[in-house]
Amino acid sequence: MGVSPFQTVGPYFDIFLRRRVPLVMVTSETPGQRIAIDGVLYDGAGTVIPDGLVEIWQADAEGRYAHPEDPRGASADPTFYGYGWRHTDAAGAFHFDTIKPGPIALPGGDPQAPHIMVSVMARGILTRFITRLYFDDEAANARDAVLQLVPEARRHTLIARTTSPGVYQFDVRLQGSDETAFFDA
């Protein structure tokens, strides 16, 4: 059986997001380092995109995913919700209040640097583009197997920049000289 093809999310997807309960990823009980992620979504002319859908998926503070595939998934933090979504605002901006994820093991056991999965959709994108967000204050980035697959000149597009303690800036550029590196997984 063939996979159902993608079609663009279009300009009106806020209609279905409005039916969801408001996003809360962390509560006052959630263990881990509180962080904020700020970003702006840009098109190839450097213009902000006010109708993008940015989604994230991440592990808890101990690097566990609340999912049966993770051998430690059953003990994942019940006070943490690892999925987040944002409709970009009029300035093309998105914002997430979350925690920094712990390191995630590779199948062989080697750790990956802390990272967050990112998915981008918008009117004018016919499918969905995925990438990863890494943190500029993690020495483990230098040994991260996935990050090393990204050509060195483009690696910085995946690394969120500390702008104040616990606040990271992660802009996404869909085209241009600093086009964000997107993945085929």
Partner: protein, 238 residues
Amino acid sequence: MAEDISIKPGPYRRVPPGVHPPADPAYRSTVLRHPKEPLIVIPQTLSELTGPVFPYDRIGPLDHDLTRQHAGQPIGERMILEGHVRDEDGRPVPDTLVEIWQANASGRYAHKIDAHDAPLDPNFSGAGRTVTDSEGWYRFVTIVPGHYPWGNHYNAWRPNHIHFSLFGPSFLTRLVTQMYFPGDPLQPIDPIFNSIPDPEARQRLIAAFDIGLTSPDWALGFRWDIILRGRNATPMEK
């Protein structure tokens, strides 16, 4: 001595070329928005093989019925929409969130940026959500959406469609797409529908009218099945 062999799911298969649309200048907004650099092939780690799993209590009792979310009934032809969510190997995808959104019967979205000069319907918001059952089935009750013009080119009109959003079991199975209706004359000239290179894959987005699903004296029935990415099986010796 007989060996105890169990099957452990392997990586998700790559999607063959021709299924998901590449950049397509016929759809004008892609020109500045579709990334141009080649995608970087990465392995599937726990980060890709896991994904959000939704608790049921977030789904309201009328979330699946778009005709009963307001004081009165929406204008338009009522329809029952049912389908089976499976992976490429035909395995059902149970307990997964399915969300839809659509225009009203006159072709207008309940959204502040929709400037089409067609009436809004105070009894129709156009959003629904449900979770597939233990065998992968979903069901919505709604109305047939109308055609509407859009600014892509001179005299551009979208074929009737309902937007779908699904998660499936992992980050890699996420699917956002549009379901179309059989026999719509706008399909052959719609840049978004025709952005799918493989004509056979395009047909997978068209629902079928189903007289068996049609409810006498009440609503037409349409059936639309959804296929998500499947995984290779890796035989493992215990």
